[in-house]
């Protein structure tokens, strides 16, 4: 959450899924009643572990997130290592290069594709559904980062056990 507005989403509505600042974090996140207008069936969460910090993998993860959110699935995003680094405040839209899978022939095609930036897709996902983006506590410590160093779309910092508790009985995907 951005400083000064804990507990509210982009639209200013209360987000029960947001962790309490300085307090205990809920093990199971509640559904946001304000989102029931779009899709109201209870769905299992999908949980994405973002490890890679290249623009292509972040974009693929963002597309999965926005699709899941649109279809009514709560999404937990856990930022580790190089993905966390890409979410640093002021660095989000910087060039994060492409993954090593991209060949010399593919790279310009990927770069020229007119899709939206991954950061915009994550924001749309948060607007349309239940999306909770958490920084991995270990990676935060490794890179000497504090919450204020991260983009406001990152809701908080948590450890791996809390992330797994949120994942509950839904799938966990590592990207």
């Amino acid at each position: 959450m951005p400083d000064g507005t804990p507990g509210t989403g982009l639209d200013g509505r209360l987000r029960p899924s947001a962790p309490l600042r300085g307090g205990p974090q809920p093990l199971l996140r509640l559904c946001d009643p304000a989102k029931t207008q779009v899709v109201d069936e209870q769905e299992k969460p999908i949980s994405l572990v973002l490890f890679s910090g290249t623009d292509d993998k972040l974009n693929a993860a963002a597309v999965l997130t926005v699709g899941a959110a649109a279809m009514g699935r709560p999404v937990n995003v856990f930022l580790q290592y190089y993905a966390l680094d890409a979410f640093r405040s002021g660095h989000v839209t910087a060039d994060h290069a492409l993954s090593s899978e991209a060949t010399a022939a593919q790279a310009p095609v990927v770069r020229a594709h007119p899709g939206q930036h991954w950061s915009e897709l994550f924001k749309q996902a948060k607007d349309v559904g239940e999306v909770n983006i958490q920084a991995c506590a270990l990676s935060m410590e490794m890179f000497h980062l504090k919450q204020a160093d991260l983009d406001p779309m990152v809701d908080g910092t948590e450890g791996v056990a809390a992330f797994m508790a949120s994942a509950s009985d839904g799938q966990v995907v590592f990207i």
Partner: protein
Amino acid sequence: MSAVQVEKTIDARGMACPGPLMNLIGAIRQGQVGQAFDVLSSDAGSKTDIPAWVAKAKQELVEVREDEGFTHFVVRKAR
């Protein structure tokens, strides 16, 4: 021509997946029950995504019609 009166045309041609769907969701959220929206999309993903979302969100897919290089998806806000 579609049989329903279209409230608003959402020209999402050229937008990449899932842009057209997200524009539709935005229009449905802001619209009134009974209003219909005509989404124009050239994104191949829309052909599966828009019907899947409409079913999930319990909206109404009034018409899917091919045009020159794009598809019309007429969706009515059902609730």
